[in-house]
Assembly symmetry: C2
Homo-oligomer: 260 residues x 2
């Protein structure tokens, strides 16, 4: 039983929860809560930490069979948790790596290219909506929020384990690579020359979504096959990035399901 | 100049920022930041509070002409602000009241009925997306988060001032009232009997969106003219409430813009 906040493992969990750099260096991250524990592929699960009172419940012990386990006093557990009302279970998980090839395996890939999305909650919501829309992968600029941020992981509701993704230092080069592979790229842009519903997304395509405040960089937007806009009524200047991404991806899904 | 956190006005601002009850009793709320100040209708603006260093900048003083103003020391200002990096301007604003009649004035109203949406950020994002989609009003159950919560106001990006809304204790009765007025009601439901793209939303209609965790109550869902689902790929169990609302409203907008 771990009963001190100065325990090495506990200190490391706190590092992994709070510092992207620590996560990167160790190739690990922390997923919190029963739901995430259930969704974590057992091959990726390094170790599970539970609070004493979590472990006392019989139904929880059944859940934990076959897992390498550490039990932690409630007080120490609360000090590590990222949430206000911790459920009493944390998983130490190995990061996965995906390649562009894995995202292009599908007959008609549906990709997202995210440039410098900043809000961790937004990023997680995008992952969740992308999986629901049938996206085959998400490519992010290195300036995008860390997918392993605890808040992002929570917002993905488990999609982090099912949606192939990668970070790239050169997203413009990645865009060129996709185009060379026959993927049409569509830049979501406030000054798009056509409405998003006027394009056909049945074949392989990628939507480019820019930063919440600045939108897409010109470098990316200009090289896209088309700049598309989501028409807006009223005096709204822009949509939330996750909302924009979802509207575009679900339009692709609508068309791919046979909608006119 | 206000230089004490025990100043009556400052204490009241803190109450209004943190307590829905205080907002309700006084019929007032606080909007923060330059953008919100610009968007606040001058008729609704009761008073503006600025920090000393905000007031020192000439361009800011130009902005503030004609406003009833209080200058507050930076230290006291920081103690009231809801944000980590306050911009230095807070507006005390009168709450508006809207009637169902105002939402039904349009030829083909497009409404949202929200049942117990809990997340303040989600609620604001819904307002912003609703305005962009051309919605004519939002009706909320009394269990829905407070639209005047500072986080909600921020997420609306100003739509709070342009989107008619009201709270009702009896959302089922409101649904009946809408139906009686010829508005078709569509319940967003995981077990919907048809896909959302199979219905026509060109005439007056209302989308019912339920709580993030529980979804819509049976009482509401059963009385709707149709239960519609957003089909989901992968293993996603549900979509974020703001994402669902946006997908439905933008499908209505697509159809109303002449999309097939």
């Amino acid at each position: 039983m771990i009963n001190s906040t100065s325990n090495k493992q506990i200190k490391n969990l706190v590092q992994l929860l709070t510092k992207a750099k620590a996560r990167r260096e160790q190739g690990l991250f922390v997923a919190e809560g029963v739901r995430m524990y259930r969704e974590t592929p057992k091959d990726d699960l390094v170790k599970t930490y539970v609070s004493e009172s979590f472990y006392e419940k019989e139904e929880n012990r059944a859940l934990l069979q076959g897992t390498e386990l550490e039990i932690v006093t409630d007080r120490v557990f609360a000090s590590t948790s990222d949430t206000k009302t911790p459920q009493g279970i944390l998983c130490l998980v190995r990061q996965r790596e995906y390649t562009p090839a894995q995202m292009l395996r599908a007959e008609n890939p549906l990709l997202l290219l995210l440039e410098d999305i900043q809000d961790p909650g937004n990023l997680g919501t995008i992952f969740r909506a992308a999986e629901a829309a049938g996206a085959t992968g998400i490519i992010m600029s290195s300036g995008t929020a860390d997918i392993y941020n605890p808040k992002t992981i929570r917002s993905t509701m488990g999609s982090i384990y099912r949606m192939p993704f990668l970070y790239t230092k050169d997203i413009a080069a990645m865009q060129e690579k996709l185009k060379a592979r026959g993927i049409r790229t569509y830049a979501a842009h406030l000054k798009g020359s056509c409405t998003y519903t006027e394009q056909a997304y049945r074949k392989g395509c990628a939507f480019l979504i820019g930063n919440e405040g600045r939108g897409l960089s010109d470098a990316l937007a200009e090289k896209a096959d088309a700049r598309i806009k989501i028409p807006m009524s009223g005096e709204v200047e822009s949509l939330n990035a996750a909302v924009s991404a979802a509207i575009l991806m679900f339009e692709a899904k609508r068309q791919r399901s046979g909608g006119l």
